[in-house]
């Protein structure tokens, strides 16, 4: 109904699509310096500053910055790394997991923080790069631990009937080498992409209705703005959750390739 009203109002409303995310700043083609590239550099500088400032004067009774850094570090170290990888060998992986978590968290939060407002991970290249790091690490650590034959053979749980072992092996191989990394990258990308698209749709839609619609549409634009606000809060939750989920799944994959038996 609203579409027809909008069409009657004269100029049409362009719904945002995936072209929205292609924002080259200078240069062109494959080597253009794009907005997400600048945002990720900004996030690296911000994280480095926060960590240095938060840990410069360490005190037994922590100040506010130190408290924040310790809370994030404690979350990754205790409730992700130690609980999932196990208390014997989790310390080696804490730097990787903490880097992943803080980088993804800050980049996701940039999706709603006003001067930046671009979730870096909504360009598929960034999640793929992070996933490649995790992918190489969990396979290499598994092969180092058990040897190539042991790692590939250990994909199948023991105690299966002989006749279905090859079949389960193919499924498990596909899971570990194709499905796990693809879903890891796509999950982060899809959440950020879809979330940002929804925000843009609601805000530009409400703006269009307010400025170009007739009186009825002007009234309807108020709940639309409210909905945009609610969705922004929801988006904050999703952004935190996705950073946590990515880190947790990375830890789970590392743990499963280190485990003595599948």
């Amino acid at each position: 109904m609203s579409l027809r009203l909008l069409a009657a109002a004269g100029e049409s409303y362009e719904t945002p699509d995936s072209g929205l995310f292609w924002q080259p700043l200078f240069g062109s083609g494959a080597f253009a310096v794009t907005r997400p590239a600048v945002v990720i550099l900004l996030s690296v500088a911000l994280i480095a500053w926060l960590l240095v400032a938060g840990t410069k004067r360490l005190a037994v009774v922590p100040g506010r910055k130190q408290m924040a850094v310790e809370a994030v570090y404690g979350l990754v170290r205790n409730s992700v790394a130690r609980d999932i990888i196990g208390s014997r060998e989790f310390l080696r992986y804490v730097p990787l997991l903490f880097t992943l978590f803080s980088l993804i968290l800050v980049n996701n939060l940039f999706g709603v923080i006003p001067p930046v407002q671009y979730p870096t991970m909504s360009r598929i290249g960034f999640p793929i790069a992070l996933t490649l790091v995790v992918y190489v690490i969990y396979h290499v650590m598994g092969v180092r631990r058990k040897g190539l034959g042991g790692y590939l053979g250990g994909l199948v749980p023991s105690g299966l009937p002989k006749s279905i072992v090859w079949y389960v092996w193919i499924l498990e191989f596909l899971t570990a080498f194709v499905i796990q990394p693809v879903t890891l990258a796509l999950r982060l990308f899809g959440n950020m992409f879809a979330g940002h698209l929804i925000l843009v749709l609601f805000i530009t839609g409400a703006e269009y209705m307010l400025l170009h619609g007739d009186i009825g549409l002007k009234v309807v634009s108020i709940p639309t703005f409210l909905m945009a606000f609610v969705l922004t809060i929801f988006e904050l939750l999703v952004e935190f959750l996705q950073a946590y989920v990515f880190t947790m799944l990375a830890a789970t994959y590392i743990a499963s390739s280190l485990a003595a038996e599948h």
Binding site: S79, L186, N191, F193
Partner: protein, 68 residues
């Protein structure tokens, strides 16, 4: 009517994960209600299950934009 039928496909692909995520969090709430001290352990399991179920819906939206 104008539009892209791929988005309808996304709607269909979101049904399954929607039900699945509902079931996961229903079980989580049940578990916490019965045993509040198990909350920390159940939470990470619930979020893991949520992430795995959600992957299907994410595939749906990615493919809806790929095959347009």
């Amino acid at each position: 009517m104008e539009g892209n039928i791929a988005i309808l496909g996304y709607g269909l692909s979101a049904i399954g994960p929607g039900i699945g995520i509902g079931l996961i969090f229903a079980a989580y709430i049940n578990g916490v209600a019965r045993q509040p001290e198990a909350r920390g352990m159940l939470q990470s399991i619930a979020i893991l299950g949520f992430a795995l179920a959600e992957a299907l819906a994410i595939f749906g939206i990615a493919l809806a934009f790929v095959f347009r």
